[in-house]
Structures are given as C-alpha cells and as structure tokens.
C-alpha cells in the first residue's frame, strides 16, 4: 500500500491497520525517517530550519509500486506499507514510514531495509533545505547508491 500526503501520519495506527485481522503475522518491522535539524551535506552540517519535499507524482507512485512488487517477489508472503510526505516540514517532523509485516522477523527486517534502500535511489523525491540565511537542494549520497547496489548482487 502506498500513500503520498502532506499531512502527518500515526505510525502505530498505520501498523495496526496493516496487520488487522491477519493471524499469520508474527512481526512488523518499520522505519520512520525524520527531518534533522542539521544539513545532510556532510561538509557543512549547518543548522536547518525547514525542508521542502518536491516530487513527480505519477512516477513516484509507479516507482513505489515497483519497489513493493520487487519486495513481494523476493520475500513472498509479506504485507507492505509506504507513506511518504511532501511539502514543507520542520525539524523532527516525520517524512516517511515503511512497514513490512511477515510471519517471521528476519523477513520483516530485510524487506523493510530493502524498500528503504531502493526508495532512496529510485523514488523521485527531492529535498530542499532552508538554513538561517540560504536554502539549497540536498545532494544525493554516494553511500545510498552503494547500498541500493548491494541488493542487486544478492
């Protein structure tokens, strides 16, 4: 299940909804990404006051659905949820929720990490950070590209 929205989400309620009525679920691994109060660019580490998330709506949906399908093909019977916010967010705000429910915990942990890693390099979102004086587009991290690449070899 995929949702792109400007409003915040309640991770606990979303997870309960994901597993509701499914007695074969042994565990749910989830990841929540949050806005930090310092810049993602490792050179600067400057304070940021807000972040704006832009996206390419139709492609975002297509890419996230593809990621869910890949995870389901890879790990079989899992329930997946991806919620991603767009718009202007302040430090400590929730940006993204990825949750995977499965019969066993290993699958839940691995599939959730897979979805996050691939989302980071395939889903068309862009972050612009606002500092006290300037604002600038966040640059993609080489380490994120490397992490996504690791899943190809397995």
């Amino acid at each position: 299940m995929i949702r792109i929205q400007t409003k915040d989400f309640d991770a606990g309620a979303e997870i309960k909804n994901l597993v509701s009525g499914k007695g074969n679920i042994g565990g749910v691994c989830s990841f929540i990404g949050l806005v930090r109060d310092f810049s993602a660019s490792e050179q600067s580490g400057e304070k940021i006051t807000a972040m704006t998330l832009e996206h390419y709506p139709a492609m975002t949906e297509k890419q996230l659905e593809k990621i869910e399908t890949q995870a389901q093909e890879r790990w079989g019977s899992i329930e997946t949820l991806i919620i991603h916010r767009v718009g202007r967010l302040e430090p400590t705000a929730q940006i993204v929720l990825v949750a995977v429910a499965a019969a066993h915990r290993d699958v839940a942990f691995e599939a959730a990490r897979f979805i996050m890693d691939i989302l980071k390099t395939e889903a068309p979102f862009w972050k612009k950070e606002e500092g006290p004086t300037t604002s600038k587009w966040v640059e993609a991290k080489a380490s994120d590209i490397a992490k996504a690449g690791l899943w190809e070899k397995k």
Binding site: M59, K62, I95, W126, K127
Partner: protein, 83 residues
Amino acid sequence: MKILYFAWLKEKTSLAEEDLSLPCGVSTVAGLMEYLKNRGGGFADAFADSTLVRVAVNMEHVQTSHPLNNADEVAFFPPVTGG
C-alpha cells in the same frame, strides 16, 4: 512530447513543464539535452553539466542513450533524495 523539470532544473529553466515536438534530428535523450542546452540562458545553465542530470522517460529511469518519440513524457531532475 511532454517535458517536465524538477528541483533545481525547474528553478534554472524557470519551467515546470512544456509541450514540444521532437526537434528535427533529435532521436535520443542525449540529443534532446543538447537541443535544450542550446536554447541558452537558464537552459544552458541547467544542462551545462549533463552528468548532474537524471532522466525518466514515461516514468522509468533511463540512460541518455534512450530513444525518444513524440508520445513520450520526458522528465529531467537531479539524483533523487527522498526517504
């Protein structure tokens, strides 16, 4: 052909979206990027370093060698930074 620009490509070109007929002699993404760069101004700036630009055709990530036709939706953007 529909062309979309995102993030700093949208800012530099001052354009979110445009309709364009595939220009004469252009058959790939690389050719289109060269054509757009030659418009000068903000476009020259946006496409100055093509290694910084990522491309999707019909909402799939592609290489610049990807062929184009008039029915395509082409999007230019920086490497993605969601999550």
